[in-house]
Symmetry: C2
Subunit: 281 residues, 2 copies
């Protein structure tokens, strides 16, 4: 096989690294693919790392030793995240979202693949380094967010469902209770969807009191799984919270159905400590 | 601003093009970002195009004129698609998937972000050039597939739901009937989720008689929308089909519950005419 030119090699390596975040690729795999010396590959990787990092789109992590290699860790820088979330808050503030009962219409935002991809990168940045075995969400509206995060964190998605579906096989079921305590629903997770002892990140679109997320945590307890984080796109004012620790991207502090006004602020993402410590400002 | 070195420029351009498939980027935007001559940018784009195309991961499309620029069209080559689908068929053949009633457990496959990404590229290749305004699916298991395709086709996703949900606002509802004619269910789509006259690609995980897909087509008819294609991950043997034209990736031809055997073949993807004509073999 011919030796690749550096320019072509850089394009192809960039493509491969971006397409498989978190996968450790041995340097020898690159050296063989491009019929190039490992020293040249190392130089290329240094260039790619430098461009990624200065552009705020993540970094390459090098693992030394015989079983070593390089992996791409996707990130988003603080400023870009802030820009994305400002647009999100602005869109959430649109009074046309107000539905009867004070509910908010979110399906357009959750259908926007570009916005979802940015939100996925934000969650991936916040929860980088948590060693995640699976990402859990609940049907229906949490699903796109969970997959957006999964595509950057390279983890499988498991979906809890309300009630029981014949296509899930044996399930574990818990009762969930809404924050107001008025409504009870059964939440189920297929037994074969999650290995015992998994480290799980919970992602959902909306949290008020947190009854649904509490239900997912109860389900995970039944699988002896560990919750390594909770991320929600929107949190809403609630008299009591059933979930103590979570990361929210936006916070709806008031919905005035009569005056048709929605007040939206940034979530607790930037006020929590440490999440952005690894990100270049 | 300093002029970028070609090596750094190639890495950054590759990253940007891959992150926004189908988005037309003016050459002047690149020239300004990298403080480089348009001629250098064109040379870079030629290199990227060549690497993408020879690697079977798509191509750059150049649009001439004042409103012109370049866009990345994601594709997967025939051989790679075949490799992915062989693995899919093999996994589908595992008799452990058989659930009571002859249903198949698919949630593990639909939770696998890497497999989904490959399937998304396959659908993007099949339906490239169809001018898609939206991708439609039905809750719950079709959702990850629709988003996987959307991430490569850069189209918003709309989700039809069974019954009525308060968070969807006003909806249009149709009756769907299963192929056996024994079961009727209401399928709804939020009125504000889709503009009149949209060109829509339908994606779902599983099709037997096609009652659910027929229901989605009926819904789209109510929106004066046009169905530009139907893609399903798995089709299953049925006495009659309610959908004439569709693309399937895999076909379950037999499920023997007693003998615990599943027979799976490749879907109609490669036997249909023309879909792969643009793809380098």
């Amino acid at each position: 096989m011919d030796k690749w030119k550096r320019s072509s090699r850089l394009v192809d390596m960039t493509r491969q690294l971006l397409s498989e975040p978190y996968r450790l690729i041995p340097l020898t795999a690159f050296a063989e693919r491009y019929n190039s010396a490992k020293s040249s590959i190392s130089e290329d990787l240094a260039i790619i790392h430098e461009v990624f990092q200065s552009g705020g789109s993540g970094e390459l992590e090098t693992v030394a030793g015989a079983a070593g290699g390089v992996r791409y860790i996707p990130k988003i820088d603080r400023q870009r995240a802030l820009d994305v979330l400002k647009v999100l808050c602005e869109q959430l503030s649109n009074p046309d979202r107000i539905l009867p009962g004070g509910f908010l219409y979110l399906s357009d935002l959750l259908g926007d693949a570009t916005l979802l991809s940015e939100i996925g990168r934000i969650f991936a940045t916040v929860f980088a380094g948590k060693k995640i075995d699976a990402i859990m969400t609940v049907e229906t509206k949490g699903i796109p967010l969970a997959y957006a995060a999964a595509s950057y964190l390279r983890a499988p998605v498991v979906i809890a469902r309300y009630g029981y579906r014949v296509t899930e096989g044996s399930v574990v079921t818990v009762n969930t209770i809404s924050g107001s305590g008025r409504q009870m629903r059964q939440l189920s997770l297929s037994k074969r969807s999650l290995a015992e002892g998994s480290r799980v990140l919970i992602i959902d679109d909306f949290m008020k009191a947190g009854g649904t997320i509490r239900g997912m945590m109860d389900l995970l307890h039944e699988f002896n799984a560990e919750v390594v984080g909770v991320g929600v796109m929107v949190e809403s004012a609630a008299e009591q919270r059933l979930v103590e620790s979570y990361v929210s991207l936006a916070a709806v502090t008031e919905v005035d159905v009569k005056e048709r006004k929605i007040h939206v602020e940034l979530g607790n993402l930037f006020t929590r400590e440490g999440e952005w410590k690894d990100v270049k400002n």
